[in-house]
């Protein structure tokens, strides 16, 4: 039978169909796409990858069809590299439809050898058993794919991606149960129906799994505490495959460790948070222009320090152009009252020359909803991000001067202060694995060149900091572990790591390793 006859028959057949490649006959890829569109339930096997100029183009074609028709087309000639894959697990290897859209993350390019996508804690345990059998594969965990410190993609390794575990469920009394694969935008939209909100960060596209195991410094943190401070219980699959629940009542050690160093201890499969009532908020975006960025930064620091807990304003700039800095501020006032909003924000708007302003009364969920959705092709980060982080105890004159110099160096294209204080500092240092509770700001810089960035950062910035927020740090020199975790915290983490993950299976994000 010719391919054409086969296609005509398959248009109305219950399926499945195996296409072949005959000389001078129909192009199998075009025929497969045609059939997938004509017959919604048909499963189609191709004789090989789509004919294309490159594997990227072939992958793109496959991913497009997956986006349009679901994963119904497979290539007969893409046998798995692994003979011990758990049969029930959804997997993606290079050449599989859907692989390309999952190989990169928001910030990072990669080409893992295998991506496993478990849908239940049992499947997570199976995926971890596979990871234990394959110590040669570098392991990365992924939830929302917005990791910076967390290597949620890699080259040639294994990724366990729990993005499909994204249920959100109301438990009552403000308690919400959330899967790691949900995004904060989805969480906000869900809670909005109950007039509740839960602080996370400034970007709604970020995933729950990565942020809620590390900290969560966002627009509501000064009022509600960090996201980890709202955590009441977490369910994890440990390195050996056991499923545990940790809370103030059970597995307290793990509960402590997850709140700041979670990626070292297990794959979180569900989080239970206590949200708080939040209805309307003031949302502001300012663009200011400054000829003296150090002065403007200091002025911002003075205002931010005095701000009440309901007000959180982040500060962002890049390299100056012709001696002039463009500063962006964006922030939130937890109040729907226009006068209060204006009163809180005016001091910020006057720390430099105001060029543009937008202030609106909105729902917290609307602010989170500004984040883009991930398109049909998934993330498309490339290369390695170069980011540095520091917790700033006090925004001093000397710091502001050094920031101006740092910006002039041209090594940094993104420089941000996240406003801390308030409820973040109500929690004692020893209460969670994130022990840095009293900084005024979390400082983040992103550059393009690892060496250049480290040189200016080490020289100009390091001395001003006490610790760092691990989520924004990509430097892998061993000292960074000590910056993330003060001595007492690190000692306890090491002890727990020996107990719960003795083979250091989990090492993609500030791996707690023994002193060498």
């Amino acid at each position: 039978m010719s391919t054409e006859q086969k296609v005509r028959e398959a248009e109305t057949a219950p399926g499945p169909v195996v296409l072949t490649d005959e000389d001078g006959g129909l192009d199998p890829w075009t025929a497969a796409v045609w059939l997938a569109a004509r017959n919604d339930n048909l499963r189609i096997t191709l004789p090989g990858a789509p004919a294309a100029v490159s594997s990227d183009m072939a992958d793109k074609a496959m991913d497009t069809l997956t986006a349009l028709a679901g994963p119904r087309v497979s290539t007969g000639d893409n046998p798995s590299r692994f003979d011990d894959l758990p049969a029930s697990l959804v997997k993606f290897e290079p050449g599989d439809p859907g692989y390309r859209g999952r190989s990169s993350t928001y910030m990072r390019g990669g080409r893992p050898a295998l991506i496993l996508r478990p849908r239940t804690p049992d499947e997570v345990a199976e995926a971890l058993a596979f990871a234990r059998r394959h110590p040669e594969l570098q392991l990365g965990l992924r939830s929302g794919g917005h990791g910076i410190s967390g290597r949620s993609t890699n080259n040639g390794g294994l990724i366990i991606d729990v993005g499909a575990m994204n249920d959100i469920e109301m438990l009552g009394n403000g308690l919400v149960r959330v899967g790691p694969g949900a995004t904060w935008k989805q969480v906000a939209a869900f809670l909005d129906k109950y007039d509740l909100a839960l602080g996370s960060g400034d970007y709604g596209g970020v995933g729950v799994g990565g942020l809620a195991t590390a900290g969560g410094i966002g627009f509501l943190s000064r009022e509600q505490g960090l996201t980890i401070d709202r955590l009441r219980a977490v369910e994890l699959v440990l390195a050996d495959g056991t499923q545990v629940r940790a809370s103030a009542e059970e597995n307290q050690d793990l509960f402590w460790a997850v709140r700041g160093a979670g990626a070292n201890f297990g794959v979180a499969t569900a989080f239970e948070f206590e949200a708080e009532e939040v209805t309307e908020v003031g949302w502001a975006q300012f663009v200011l222009v400054s000829h003296d960025v150090a002065e403007s930064l200091k002025a911002y620091g003075d205002v931010a320090r005095e701000a009440p807990r309901d007000t959180t304003v982040f500060w962002l700039t890049g390299p100056p152009r012709q001696g002039q800095s463009v500063i962006q501020m964006y922030g939130m006032v937890d109040s729907g009252d226009a006068d209060t909003i204006i009163e809180r924000l005016t001091p910020f708007a006057t720390t430099a020359l105001l060029a543009q302003q937008q202030v609106v009364v909105a729902r917290y969920a609307d602010v989170m909803a500004q984040a883009g959705d991930v398109g049909p092709e998934g993330h498309h980060g490339r290369g390695e991000p170069v980011a540095r982080s520091g917790f700033l105890p006090e925004l001093t004159d000397a710091f502001a001067r050094d920031v101006a110099e740092l910006l002039r160096s041209g090594q940094v294209f993104f420089f941000q202060l996240r406003h801390m204080g308030g409820a973040i500092a109500d929690v004692p240092a020893h209460a969670t694995a994130l022990a840095h509770r009293t900084p005024e700001f979390s400082v983040t810089a992103i550059g393009a060149d690892r060496r250049g960035m480290d040189e200016v950062w080490d020289r100009l910035m390091a001395k001003h900091f006490d610790g760092l927020y691990l989520s924004f740090e990509t430097d892998q020199r061993p000292e960074r572990l000590h910056d993330a975790f003060p001595a007492a915290t690190l000692a306890r983490l090491r002890e727990l790591k020996r107990r719960y993950d003795p083979t250091t299976l989990f090492r993609d994000n500030f791996a707690i390793v023994e002193e060498s």
């Binding site: 296609v7 129909l26 796409v33 183009m57 069809l65 398109g375 092709e377």
Partner: protein, 280 residues
């Protein structure tokens, strides 16, 4: 006054993303002649245009489908010829081949295509078109061999044969590309907004195509003139483009269903009326 006498065609120019299939279906139901998709595979937010075209063709009944224009450096002629002929067969002769020399060389390189200078791009296109036509021609059993600077084909079997004469429509602006269009193309497919002096440029550009066609022993009217309209379309404007500048294919850039329907229900009939009255 130039009018090459072709029947008028109306269509849309659609962004190749998740909404594109629905827009193609809308255009088909509304009775438009053509739906076309831009092709920028290195743009991560976009779908693969060929896959999208095949999918849209399968979901529509009457409308013709084309790339606008397909990026040759990322779509080698032998692959393209076979794919286009296959889809033409499956769709009952509804495929046209909008083709370009390929812009954005860095994007092309990032997707694994060959990075070509503009001059190389033109040379590659003039190599590719005869290869494509050769592979479509199943009138002989002789195998296809081509040793060129850009493409090698050795002993390829011809076929499949397209269901109709697929038009090769070329996106061209500069003299060399216009000459190539006159020599080898079945259609010319530029965008109005990229013409240096807007519609007024068409006289000169048409003349270059006409001249190249005549030099190659072809009728100027064998090259249909189409035009992408990026900023809306009004009946009088389109009628003028048809009667004064010989444009017979009007392709409106829109991702909006209502605009698509209005093009079919109001603008196209109005333009057809105006042109019919003038042509007599």
């Amino acid at each position: 006054m130039t009018d090459y006498g072709h029947d008028l065609m109306f269509g849309t120019f659609v962004t190749p993303n998740a909404g594109a299939v629905d827009l193609a279906v809308t255009a088909d139901r509304a009775g438009l002649d053509l739906v076309t998709f831009q092709d920028h595979p290195y743009q991560p937010a976009f779908l693969d245009t060929w896959t999208l075209m095949a999918y849209a063709a399968a979901r529509t009944e009457r409308i013709r489908i084309s790339g606008n224009v397909l990026n040759l450096p990322l779509r080698p002629p032998a692959v393209l010829a076979r794919a286009a002929a296959s889809l033409d067969v499956l769709s009952g002769g509804r495929i046209e081949l909008g083709l370009g020399a390929g812009a954005f060389p860095d994007g092309v390189a990032a997707m694994g295509g060959r990075k070509l200078t503009p001059a190389q791009g033109i040379a590659a296109l003039s190599e590719a078109i005869p290869i494509i036509r050769d592979l479509w021609n199943t009138g002989t059993r002789e195998r296809v061999d081509h040793r060129g600077e850009f493409y090698q084909v050795s002993g390829a079997k011809r076929g499949p044969a397209p269901a109709h004469d697929i038009g090769i429509w070329i996106g061209a602006y500069k003299p060399k590309m216009l000459a190539l269009t006159g020599r080898l193309g079945d259609g010319w497919l530029p965008s109005l907004s990229y013409l240096p002096n807007g519609a007024a440029s068409l006289t000169d550009l048409n003349a270059r195509i006409d001249e190249a066609a005549t030099d190659a022993g072809r009728e100027p009217s064998s090259v249909r003139r189409l035009l992408n309209l990026m900023d809306g379309a009004e009946p009088e404007q389109l009628a003028d483009l048809a009667l004064t500048y010989g444009i017979s294919g009007f392709i409106l850039a829109t991702d909006d269903a209502a605009t698509t329907e209005r093009l079919a229900a109001e603008i196209a009939p109005a333009v057809r009326d105006l042109v019919k009255r003038e042509r007599g």
